[in-house]
Amino acid sequence: MPVQDVLEAKLENGLTVLLRESHAAPVASFFVWYRIGSRNEVPGITGVSHWIEHMLFKGTPTFPKGEISKAIQRLGGVWNAFTWQDYTAYYEIVPAENLDLPLRLEADRMANALFDPVEVESERTVIISERQMYENRPWYLLQEAAQAVIYRTHPYRYPVIGEMCDLQSMTRADLYNYYRRHYVPNNAVAVAVGDFSAPAVLERIHQLYGQIPAGAPPEPVRAKEPPQLGERRITVKGPGVTNYLLMGYHSPPVDSQDFMPIMVLSTILGGAAPMGMGGGSSANRTSRLYKALVETELASGVTTSQRAGRDPSIFSVYCTAQGDHTLAEIEAVVLAQIEKMRQEPITSAELERAIKQTRAQFAYSHESVSSQAYWLGFAETVSTYNFFLTYAERLAEVTPEAVLRVAQTYLIPDLRTTGNYLAQNEKARLTGEATPAAAAAAGIGQ
């Protein structure tokens, strides 16, 4: 199937619309992306974008609370939403003949969400509970601490979920004003992919979204990260017996000509990133770091990632220590592999394999309408949708020299942040109060 065939339109109020017919299965997927996320936040209201996402499920005058999800599910559909640094997105996947309801729902809540004060308070504790779920995870604690140090001024330093103090103190007015300010058609991208007629869907979008007034363009994010003048190191202590290592380097934004070479670099060092919606896992047992760390039993796992951000981003290496090996041992091996990347060009065989892997992932990503809609919308939100359409061919243009150049440009020791999660090995206490029979069977008292 050709990857073109995108019907692109811009309504008078500034709403960008991307439509693509896909007749392989009788399903359709609809996304609305807003260019609003933690990138747009400031201290005092960190987490506001994510909280707004929750409030958009709390009802409008037309669709009272709970009715949105029920209405979608009655049609056999699924729905959800997600918030990240650069965006907040809402989606529905439905049997194709039922696409009209998602179109109406999203038009409605673009402008008419209620933000009932009682619901705001009830959601406060839900979101605090969500934050506490993340805090239970060592990787989350390390990542949150590291990104606050990698960035000194840029809002990418704030957690998307929000700082606890802000979640405790934010007001209904903070939320509602932020919503009204940023949920405007000229700050949104609507994407549909599926078994429908694109011109007909475009006409319906005109009807439903055309009269929503445009707002002032969003405030540009003015913060620019000052140069880093030396390595930064952090330590996070927490429960458990397993230690974790994170190394982060400042890296290019998605629109940079260095982006594709650093994606190839990441694939060769840590494995190919899967392109399904929401990621997923891809085996990466041939990468350089797997061979250097997992084959040698220093680490039980290693991955790398290059964030695709609108602003300068982070290239990260994540390692899980195995056995009694120290993070210092692991760090030394990672640094040796990174130094090799900076000294020698990758082989043409490595490059060819990285390109082939990504091509296959790219082909798979076209097999579901939601994956296509996700990628088109994501790309248009952080760059342009052409970023997705031309992904494979731009990848094929990457040369070993380009990968060497980006390694030398970005993987500089002074521009690194190194984070250690040090498990405190506190013996979990057992306080069983089971019945004697069950206790005996379950082996309580070991």
Binding site: L75, G76, A283
Partner: protein, 433 residues
Amino acid sequence: MIAEKQLSFPGPETITRRVLDNGIIVLARQNPASPSVVVRGLLHVGANDDPADKPGLASFTTEALDRGTTSRSFSEINEAVEAVGASFGIGSGRHTASFGTKSLVDDLDLVLDITADVLRNPTFPSQEIEKLRGQLITMLQERENNTRAVAEDFFRELAYPNHPYGRPADGTLESVRAITRDDIEMFYRQTFSPVRGAATPMLVSIVGAIEPEAAIARIDKYFGSWNTQRDIPRQHQAELPPLQPITEIRRRSRTMPGKSQSDIVVGCHGIKRNDPDYLAASMANMILGVLGLMGRLGHNVRDEKGLAYYAASRLEARLGEGPWVAYAGVNPKNVNLAVDSILEEFRRMGDEPVTEQELSDAKAYLTGSMPLSLETNEGVAQTLLDLELYQLGLDYLQRYPDLVRAITAGEIQTVSQKYLHTDAYALSVAGPE
């Protein structure tokens, strides 16, 4: 219109089913719109086969299969699969070991060749076994530090004493340290076979850019000559011991200092997938903790009381009577309130019929969502395996909407009374003080 749509679901007209000479059952369906081929398969060997003193043996053995064969090293296997952007995975469950591949159609031979090699000719090299052991131990240590995993493990121990379901499928730190290479090789030789007893043949489904007869020929080429009878005798899969009903309230908790949130698992024994009560129980579960935003549990615990980000339910109805549980993550000071709220919803499911609206919403979702679950090759391949594994019949998807529509509120109330108890259940909690 509806009849025509139902016919477009996979059924006897579009699923090709074949039994190979060695007993393997193959199900194939073509998807001309796709460039890829997905293969899913399973063998009847799993954690239920673990000796009581060696929990985790089936899992360790299954994970070790691709660490080397008579003709390929572990790294050669990885190089071959990853070089073409294909994926190959193998995993162990309680009743079955499953495998799956995804590749572009041109690479199908390559991935099938490797899959067959891994299943038929593993050599379990000592050095690779030790590497894997280190990874498994790290994984188990991470589980020990995960409140949700600890609560799930405790629940199983409480709900299934003296039963394989009560043991950790991935083993314990002690057992994984103690399992030897000889244990693994012997377990493999005794249990991995295309047929373990007449009722439990290996199943393979293959879906995507390949015509069914060609697909079946490919499976036959790589697996058709797998005959294990001449080798040492295979052990048939042991019957599970009968379940001992939960007759009282069982509680267990673990304090995990330094954590922010407590995880709760509370529930009872459920049913098998092919139990006549399955559809009613499945709809009860959807109303209890799935539909809308996590059903009645989500409404009560999250939406009304603001206690949790997640509060939902899960019915594990497969080859045995798996658990039917509610689970939630809450602030430690709210554990009792959340448990009371969950039990209140258990009670309501049994005391009152569900509303007409809830019933019709659940029916509409279950019938309406079929096109979504069948959109991808992965979805179809898994569905075909399930049709065969649970003996549902190739026309099940076409009959399914009528089966769903026939379920009554009375039947849902009856299964809820039968399985969801408020005076006999297991409850586990893991979290900070």
